[in-house]
Symmetry: C2
Subunit: 514 residues, 2 copies
């Protein structure tokens, strides 16, 4: 059965849409304390000048391709002054952001492997010649350093372009109504581009780094996708991959690999496996694809059953100092309350599916579980004195716990609204760290009747990213610490990241009314 | 007409013969003042151990493929300890010789472009996977350094091999008679392998560096080829290439490029263009291919006519401080006398071809030229007092001038023999520097009746190379200065070089009689 899910997934593998994109100008990266991460992009020449300039050892150039792209580089090389009598050796550095071009990869000491940094040294044997580098790159900027020739001849670059790849069909994206203000249009445009560049043969988390299908990202990408590219098949493919590549215990894994053959990773996360239920729910709500629902329902139900086993005798998710639940990148965040809330959130979506499938026993059972788990949350995690949900033995009060409890609708809308107001008034210390957590904050504000606050927050976060020069929205963004990285180096952060693409979802779902 | 010569050449492009070759052991390069160029190869492990060893950042290994090879590298990669969750970044250093593995390319300061040094940094996105690197390499040793992974997983190399390429069919090489002594068998074996590795879609000068068809090398390769692989088509192809890609003035260029399309270089060398005549003569003598002779005779005659224009009123080749004639890599060597001798040598072969073609006028004219140019040599370049031919305004007395005058048979065999004897007795200062010049020394000794001396010299030179660890014979070899390089670094010397392959020609032509 698992095998056939993977086969179904493979039959849905999309053809990629390709497009040639040419560089628009030559630039330099200038140290500038006012600029994002300390680097300003300065135009240094027209692209026409590149076509006739001759390069030799020690020369370099930085090409600006005008926007963020995912694709393969093709370049033509020819010699001038003399025929090329030796190979040409070039170094290529691809950067989503100026920091990747301006700072040396050789000094990288982050906690993920250096091989994610996109640089190559390539020898070209035959000139004149047109070469396409074999790997896919994710970049806006490309620095080319000439290592050789040094002597008899020089090298020219008469042609250079990237063939972009995506499974997103931009012609499907509805135009925004004219009345939508410029700042929202801009956020929408960047968010759509973010999603587009992550949409490959799966919904990748980041096309530069990881390049994997994570279910936490998939859930948000799918939501944004329903309002833009509306590619149901790709969501279906990803659901089948997760269903077909479960862990030994039946859990949906946190991520799967596509190549060389579809395979699951061994990472299990409490929240991520539950999101199979909500992602299926969202998919069915939009697609009404009952066939897929019927096939995948057992897997969703299995996730619910597995998750319920983690409850203690009080009906509370057992806490654990290890990485059992993701929620957000935050060193200090205790995940217990958010895990509890996510369980409730997904049980409610599971219930809706059981009802849709007219499964009497399951409907009754899930309804009972929702009541028990919600009651337990209010009895043991709600601190009436503080007016907050607490988490873990230290009774931590964090933004994440309140946000998820609001999304789980453990309390009524009015109480949730008051909870959100308190959160902003008190400005609790353990704040959202990632666009992923910000997404849930925005959604919680909207669902608790705080739409204006949601818009304000969206502008303050993604709007600020746009002001800071985002071509696509980023994996990590802390306006207070712009070099922040969960990996020990901002160079390795993903600057086009799936879980950051939801402004388009919010704008198109909630903010198009005049 | 030129075009059709190139078309004929292209129709003769051979299919390459491929063979998989596996590494035989793991080695280390040890500093050793007794060893050639200061590096000894020491076995450090069996190849079986490689298949199960796991590597991560900072680890490296040196594979010994057991002999010199030309081909493409294929390697399989798989992860252990965990699934590969990032690309694998490897550095490859290919070496014909231990120095290339033991010394850093980063410190290279030679006079040819560094891109000839064979190293690559390659990122592999998908594991497990089998990859074939796109370029051809020339090597016996391969060092692999692991740059990444550094963290979650390690990398294994379950399979690695080179697919060798050559147009030489080893089954065509006649076995040597049993009585041939071991030292000659060994020299023959190495020479044949040298020729084999240089035989690609043309006769390359060196498969590592230059990878081009030079007529000076072609002439010697063709001679060795007639006694070994006996591939007439490849010689014919190369003659057509030179004929079809002449310089604007009609001169046969010194070298041609095959890729991206056949094209001549702009280097004209007096001796090299004349060697078109002698190479055609040698080819016809063996093949009796009259069709090719008839087609290419006009080109040969044109070279003679062009060369005769360089004579001054005395009938002596005009000297020039620039690189107008190759003869040998020697900073101090004056080329006038050798150019004069090579003209005579090639006129004599041109005469034989004119006679063969029954061309009365040309026969008479060339015979007259031979007489005039030989007389001029004796009148103006022969120094009766010293008993040597002199060269240039400084009246330089070099080995090369005597050797070429002997080969040109300006004097009779007895006088040439005496000249050779004097040369060795006096041990003139401006000595042969390259295997190319040594070839002519050996040939001159044999043709002047000094066969024993020829054998002794061959053993002292190529035999010493073999003792110094040659798997294939070298471009440059100075037993007095083993790091000698005409390019400022022994790293960039070619250690499998066409013009060094002629011991097999000498052995099989002159030394098989018991």
């Amino acid at each position: 059965m698992s095998l056939s899910f993977v086969e179904m997934a493979e039959s849905l593998k999309p053809e990629l849409i390709e497009k040639k994109v040419y560089p628009t100008r030559l630039v330099e990266m200038k140290a500038d304390t006012e600029a994002f991460q300390g680097w300003a992009v300065q135009e240094s020449g027209s692209i026409e000048s590149l076509r006739t300039e001759a390069f030799s050892k020690g020369d370099s150039m930085i090409l600006d391709f005008g926007d963020h792209h995912v694709g393969r580089l093709t370049l033509s090389l020819q010699s001038v002054d003399a025929r090329a009598d030796s190979p040409v050796r070039l170094k290529f550095i691809f950067g989503e952001m100026p920091c990747e071009i301006a700072e040396s990869f050789d000094d990288y000491e982050g906690w993920l492997d250096r091989s994610w940094l996109q640089d190559e040294i390539v020898n070209f044997d035959v000139l004149p010649g047109t070469y396409t580098l074999p790997r896919r790159y994710t970049f806006r900027y490309l620095k080319i350093e000439v290592i050789s020739p040094a002597r008899k001849f020089k090298v020219e670059f008469p042609d250079i372009y990237v063939t972009t790849e995506t499974s997103a069909d931009v012609s499907q994206v509805p135009a925004l109504p004219d009345h939508v203000p410029e700042q929202l249009r801009e956020m929408d445009r960047i968010a759509v581009k973010t999603l587009q560049d992550c949409m490959q043969t799966v919904f990748e988390d980041g096309p530069k780094r990881d390049r994997r299908l994570w279910i936490g990202d998939l859930r948000l990408q799918a939501l944004a996708n329903y309002y833009t590219f509306n590619n149901h098949e790709l969501v279906r493919r990803c659901l089948y991959l997760f269903a077909g590549l479960r862990l030994e215990g039946g859990q949906v894994g946190a991520c799967v690999y596509e190549k060389p053959e579809p395979a699951g990773d061994d990472i299990y996360l409490y929240d991520y496996s539950l999101f199979f239920v909500s992602t299926l729910y969202d998919y069915y709500s939009v697609s009404e694809d009952r066939e897929t629902l019927v096939r995948l329902w057992p897997v969703a139900l299995e996730q619910i059953e597995i998750s319920l086993r983690r409850l203690d005798e009080r009906g509370i998710v057992k806490d654990d100092p290890s990485w059992y639940c993701f929620t957000d990148w935050h060193e200090k965040l205790n995940k217990q309350a958010s895990a509890q809330a996510i369980l409730i959130y997904c049980l409610k979506r599971g219930l809706a599916l059981a009802v849709e499938l007219e499964l009497e026993t399951e409907t009754v059972a899930i309804r009972d579980h929702i009541e028990r788990v919600s009651d337990a949350a209010l009895a043991h995690l709600w601190d009436q004195r503080q007016g907050y949900f607490v988490s873990g033995t230290e009774r931590q009060v964090s933004w994440a716990s309140q946000v998820w409890m609001a999304l789980a609708e453990v309390m009524d809308t009015q109480a949730n609204g008051a909870l959100m107001d308190r959160l902003f008034d008190d400005n609790l210390e353990v704040r959202p760290m990632t666009p992923y957590m910000y997404h849930h904050l925005i959604e919680a504000l909207i669902s608790s009747g705080r739409k204006d606050k949601a818009l304000e927050q969206m502008k303050a976060y993604w709007g600020q990213m746009a002001s800071d020069g985002a071509d696509t929205f980023w994996e990590v963004y802390n306006p207070e610490d712009k070099k922040n990285s969960p990996y020990g180096s901002n160079l390795i952060n993903s600057y086009c990241h799936a879980w950051s693409c939801t402004p388009t979802y919010f704008i198109r779902k909630y903010f198009l009314q005049t």
